[in-house]
C-alpha cells in the first residue's frame, strides 16, 4: 500500500481484515487527509458519485461504534441552504436524487431552519436537511485504521514502481503480489499519464464557541463549485467541531501548487460565510491553511486494477470527497483483489474510462 492517507489506510484495513498481510509505505508528504474537513456527505454530481457516497456513509455508520473518541465521529446531518426559489428547486431535485439512492432527506421551511440554526441570516428560502450525513477527524481515523492486526507501517518514500515491487528512496526494494497506489496527488510522480490535477482549497478554524451551530451548513451552490472544471470558486461550507470550533470553507483553485494562504481569496471565502452567518464577523479566527485535492476530469475517483501493469491497483483522485468515499473505495479494492463480488458497480471508477476516449495517449 503506497500512501497512509484516509484512502490508503481504509484499503489497508479492509485487506488486512480479509487476511492479507499488508505493508503500508508512507513518506509523510503533505496529505489531503490532514488538510481536509472530514464532512461525510452525500454528493450527487452523478449517479456514480452518489452511489459511492451512499454505500460509504452506510459503512461509516457501521464502523462508528468502534472508532476511537478522538476520531470525533458525529452524525450532525447537513443543511443545504437555499437563498432563493431556484435554490429550492435544486434542493428538491437533490432530495429526489438522494431518495433514489435510498438516502432520506427533507425540505424544511425558513421558520424551521431559523429554529434549527438561529445564527443563520434571516430571509433564507429554506433548506434540505440530510440527517444521515456526519463528520469525523480524518487524520486520527486514518491512524486508527492502520492499528489493525496484519498491517505494518513503514515511513519511507517510494521512488519507483516496478513489476510487482517498489523501490524506496534508500535503495531498498519491496516486493508484493499486489501493490495499491493510494498516494493521492503525488501518485503522478510514480505513474505517468494519470489524469489528476491539483485543486487548492482554503480552510479556516475559529476559537471555541460551543453550541452556536449544530449542523454542517453548506450552500446549495457548493455542488457547482465542487464540480467546476476550471477557474477559482468560493462556496460556503461550515462545520461545527465537537470542540466548539467552527471550520469554515471553501475555495477551489486550479493551476497552483503554492501552499501559502492567499489573504484576498481567504477574505472572499469569509465574506461569503459571513453572508450566511452574520455573527461570524465578531468571532475570532485562530488559523487558516490550505490543502490540495487530487481531481480527475470527471470528478470521480480512479479505483481498480491498472489495465496493463500486473499486480498494480489504483485508489486515488478522490477530489474533495475522499474521506467520505474511502470505505467504499476500500471495499471495491478488496473485492477486486480477492476476486469477490463487488459491493457496487465498479465500472464508473475504472482507469480505463480515460483510456477509451483517448487510446493514443498511452505513453508507456
Amino acid at each position: 500500500m503506497i500512501g497512509a492517507g484516509i484512502v490508503g489506510a481504509s484499503c489497508a484495513h479492509a485487506l488486512a481484515l480479509a487476511g492479507l498481510s499488508v505493508r503500508v509505505v508512507d513518506a509523510g508528504l503533505p496529505a489531503a487527509t490532514s488538510a481536509g474537513m472530514g464532512h461525510l456527505v452525500s454528493l450527487d454530481g452523478s449517479a456514480a458519485e452518489l452511489a459511492l457516497c451512499s454505500d460509504s456513509l452506510a459503512r461509516w455508520r457501521a464502523l462508528a461504534p468502534s472508532l476511537p473518541a478522538s476520531g470525533a465521529y458525529h452524525r450532525c446531518g447537513t443543511l443545504w441552504l437555499a437563498e432563493n426559489e431556484d435554490d429550492l428547486a435544486t434542493a428538491d431535485d437533490k432530495r429526489a436524487a438522494l431518495a433514489m439512492a435510498g438516502i432520506g432527506s427533507e425540505l424544511i421551511t425558513p421558520t424551521r431552519l431559523a429554529a434549527l440554526e438561529p445564527l443563520l441570516r434571516p430571509g433564507l428560502s429554506g433548506a434540505l436537511r440530510v440527517e444521515s450525513d456526519a463528520i469525523l477527524y480524518a487524520p486520527r481515523v486514518a491512524d486508527w485504521l492502520l492499528e489493525c492486526v496484519g498491517i505494518t507501517l513503514e515511513r519511507a518514500q517510494v521512488t519507483a514502481l516496478e513489476d510487482q515491487q517498489v523501490r524506496l528512496a534508500d535503495g531498498r526494494r519491496l516486493g508484493a503480489r499486489v501493490i495499491v497506489l493510494a498516494a493521492g496527488l503525488q501518485a503522478g510522480a510514480l505513474l505517468e499519464g494519470l489524469p489528476i490535477e491539483a485543486k487548492k482549497g482554503h480552510l479556516l478554524v475559529t476559537d471555541r464557541y460551543p453550541g452556536r451551530v449544530s449542523h454542517q451548513l453548506v450552500e446549495l451552490g457548493y455542488g457547482a463549485s465542487a464540480h467546476a472544471g476550471q477557474g477559482t470558486s468560493v462556496a460556503f461550507n461550515l462545520q461545527a467541531r465537537p470542540t466548539g470550533q467552527l471550520l469554515i470553507g471553501s475555495t477551489r483553485q486550479f493551476d497552483t501548487l503554492d501552499p501559502r494562504v492567499e489573504p484576498a481569496l481567504l477574505a472572499r471565502m469569509l465574506e461569503r460565510a459571513r453572508g450566511y452567518l452574520p455573527a461570524l464577523g465578531a468571532i475570532n479566527a485562530i488559523r487558516a491553511w490550505t490543502g490540495f485535492r487530487a481531481a480527475t476530469p470527471d470528478g470521480l475517483p480512479i479505483i481498480g486494477r491498472h489495465p496493463e501493469r500486473e499486480g498494480l491497483w489504483l485508489a486515488l483522485g478522490h477530489e474533495g470527497l475522499g474521506v467520505t468515499t474511502a470505505p467504499s473505495t476500500a471495499a471495491l479494492i478488496r473485492a477486486g483483489v480477492l476476486g469477490e463480488h463487488p459491493p457496487l458497480d465498479p465500472s464508473p471508477y475504472r482507469f480505463e474510462r480515460f483510456r477509451a476516449s483517448a487510446p493514443a495517449d498511452g505513453q508507456r
Binding site: R155, L204, V205, T206, G281, N284, R287, A288, W289
Partner: protein, 423 residues
Amino acid sequence: MNERLPRECELLIVGAGPAGMAAACAAADHGMSVVVIDDNPAPGGQIWRAGPRVDLPLRAQALRERFERLPGLRLCSATRVIDAPAPGRLLVEREHDAGVIDYHRLLLCTGARERLLPFPGWTLPGVTGAGGLQALIKGGLTVRGERIAIAGSGPLLLACAATVRAQRGRLVALAEQSPWQALAGFTIGLWRWPAKLAQAIALANPRYRAASRLIEALGERRLEAVVIESLGERREIACDRLACGFGLVANTELAQLLGCALDERGILVDQHQATSVAGVYAAGECTGPGGSELALVEGRIAGLAAADQYPLAAALSRRRARWQAFAAQLEQHFALDSSRLPPRRATTLVCRCEEVTLGELEAHSDWRRAKLASRCGMGACQGRVCAAATAQLFGWAPPPPRPPLSPARIDSLLLAGMEEVQE
C-alpha cells in the same frame, strides 16, 4: 485610542519596547514619517511596561517622553499585527476596528517571550510566568502579603523577585536550575558591565537557591503549594503564587510570515540590522535575547539604517558589540540542564489549549505527526507555548506560523481582501 488608524507611512515599526522606541527616535530625527504598532495598552515593551503600579527608571521615562513627542510619529497602542496580506502591507486589529497599513520600510521590534515549560500542576490558577507575574503586577495585581515562589532559570527570576519584594509580597522560594559555579562565573564576569553588576547586587536575594529543580505545583482548583528539589532534597512549600520561566524565546512569527531568514537565536540580521528580506529590518530581542541595553543600541542602528544614515549607524557598532558580549554571557551561564528541568510525567498537559498530555506526544517522531494525531498546538495560542516546550523536550522544530498570527475577528480578516482601502 479611537483615533483612526493610519493608512501608510515611510517606516512602520512593530513593537514599542526599548528597541522600537529607540528606533523611532532615530528615524524620526532624520525626517521619516513613522508609525509604531504595539499590542500593549501603553509603550514600554516588557521591561518598561507601564501601569498603575509602576515607577519607571528615569532613563526609561526620558526615552518615553521623547518618543511620545516625536514629530512625525503615530503611535498605535493596543493594536496587534495579525497578518501580512500583501508586500508592503500589514493587517492590524484593535479592540473595536481593524485596518491595513502600507509601508516603505518595516522594522520588527517584536521582542521575546518567556520559555514556559510544562510541569505537573502548571495549569492551576496561581501559576504564572515569572515575567508574566511582573506584567500582571504592573497591570494592577496586588500581591501584598501573598506567599510567592519563583522557579525556573535566568535573570528574569531575580527581576521578578525584586518586583515581588517591592510590592510587599512574601517570597517563599527562589529556585534557579543553573549551578552556583555558572552563576558565580556570570556575576564575576559582570565587572565588564558595571551597570549590570550594580543591578545584580541590588537584585541579590537571600532566598536564591541554585541547582534547584521545580518538581510540581499542587492544589485542587487553585495553587496551594510547590515542590522544589535542592541539594537532593525535596521540599513542599505552601504558596499562593508560583512564577516560573526558563529563559526567553524570540518572537519571530511575523518575520517568518514575511519570509525573513532566522538563525538559532532569532531573526537573522546584518550589521545594519537588515533582515534577508529587502526593506525589512529587525532589532532588539526578536533577533535574540540580549537585554534592554542591546535592544536600545540595535534599535538606534536600525532606525538610522532605515533612514539611510549609514555612517551614523556604523558609529554605534562598537557599543552594540559590547552588549552582544553581555548577551553571550547570559546565554552561557543560564544554559538549561535537562537533568534539572521539571520531571517528565506522562499525565502532564503539554498543550494547554487542546489539553494534550506528554504521554500522548512521546509516541511521535515530529511536531507535524504529533499535531495531527493529538491536536497539540491546534488551539488558540497556535502552539506559541507548547511548540517552544516540545522544542526543548523532544528537539522538534516548531511549525511555521500561519495567518492570523494570533486570534483575530473574521471581520478583520475580510480587510485583507481589499485592493484599495477607501476607509
